[in-house]
Symmetry: C2
DNA sequence: TAGATTGTTAATCGATTAACAATC
DNA sequence: TAGATTGTTAATCGATTAACAATC
């Protein structure tokens, strides 16, 4: 694997490679050329080869890429074989949907705890996993190794929650709030999901034709 | 407003300007310089001025930008005063969360219909809005103007659903599935939300330190 | 007026695309 | 061998940052 820092643009394309390679594999396609892959991904063969070459020479001249090898290499690169232990903070609409819907173990994660402060839902279950009182967060994290937190709480509750999580040593976040975690904790890994920003972008695009 | 095509990168930053300007307004801040705004957004003053200048000279030399003017200009640019009529297709975990959680009318939209094929949930309500049988989609869309569809269904149901929606004249989509709409309908406006891709990216970043 | 800060042009940086020799 | 297709270098394109004259 290459030493050079891989650019964010490349990384963001890797899951798409992974998805399309999985499809090809399901269709029992054995090999694929950069040109064909580019077609599927709606990009250029050049980009495909550039991207894949960041990580090593997976291809064979005159042949292309082996679908199964390439797929498993990308799994390794993304680290999907991990089982990072995750806690979900906030079992409201979005949090519940995430907990119930995501196939965590195909994505490198395992959901090990769900926390909320709403007494009405404490004790009820999402996919076998009980919703715990946020008061027990410290105890839980001290007893169980936790790698990452999924933040599905209101924005104004976020600073306090992150403060507690950070103190517990959790430095990776999947952040559905608009709280700017990295602004306060620069050493942290964050993936932001700003659904309302995306809606606004969509709104702009719909306008654009005018 | 400028004729030049505005780049996607700029557009994706507009919601963030909007959010931070709203915050400043709440704090009764009257004016803001590109430098201050850059600090809040964690970018450069240069970028702020370049971005804003795509749309016209909202600033005043030696003074900066008026928070309220700038905010309302960005609302206009994004089109947040619109009430685009939306239907939600699929009232599963994600669909329900979206319907219940998003403040559509602050984001340029109005949710006017929810459709599903699961008989068990037909008739139940999310925020006053009844879940309708997907069989009635055509009838509903013919009787009501619909501008955009939010797709929260499984991937394999997506091609069929989009086919029907497209035939009904709906050419804008907020797409939570992995179905590549633009591949099949190039004239369509799509905003994709690929939550699992984002999880994989997070997984990669967590790995990276190793 | 002097200081601040914009709008805008120029310079830099990074990402994408093209080209082609290497080679299976 | 001939054809296909990679890996990689070079060229292009676009986005970000720097610089500075204009001006409030």
């Amino acid at each position: 694997m290459n030493k050079e820092k891989i650019s964010k643009s490349v990384i963001r394309r890797l899951p798409r490679y992974y998805r399309f390679l999985s499809e090809l594999e399901e269709q029992n396609v054995e090999r694929v050329s950069s040109g064909r892959l580019a077609q599927i991904m709606r990009t250029t063969a050049s980009q495909v080869r550039q991207d894949l070459n960041c990580f090593g020479g997976f291809g064979h001249q005159g042949y292309g890429y082996s679908v199964s090898t390439l797929k498993s290499e990308i799994i390794k690169i993304l680290g999907l074989n991990n089982r990072y232990k995750a806690v979900l903070i906030g079992a409201g609409h979005i949090g519940t949907a995430i907990a119930a819907h995501m196939k965590f173990n195909k994505l490198g994660f395992e959901l090990t705890g769900i926390f909320d402060n709403n007494e009405e839902i404490l004790g009820s279950k999402i996919n076998e996993l009980e919703i715990s009182d946020i008061k027990n967060l410290e105890q839980f994290c001290n007893e169980n190794k936790v790698d990452v937190a999924f933040l599905c709480i209101p924005k104004n509750a976020a600073p306090e929650a992150v403060k507690r999580l950070y103190q517990l040593g959790i430095k990776s976040y999947w952040n559905f709030t608009h709280y700017d975690i990295q602004g306060d904790y620069p050493d942290v890994v964050v993936e932001n999901v700003h659904l309302s920003d995306m809606m606004m972008t969509l709104c702009y695009s719909m306008n654009e034709g005018l």
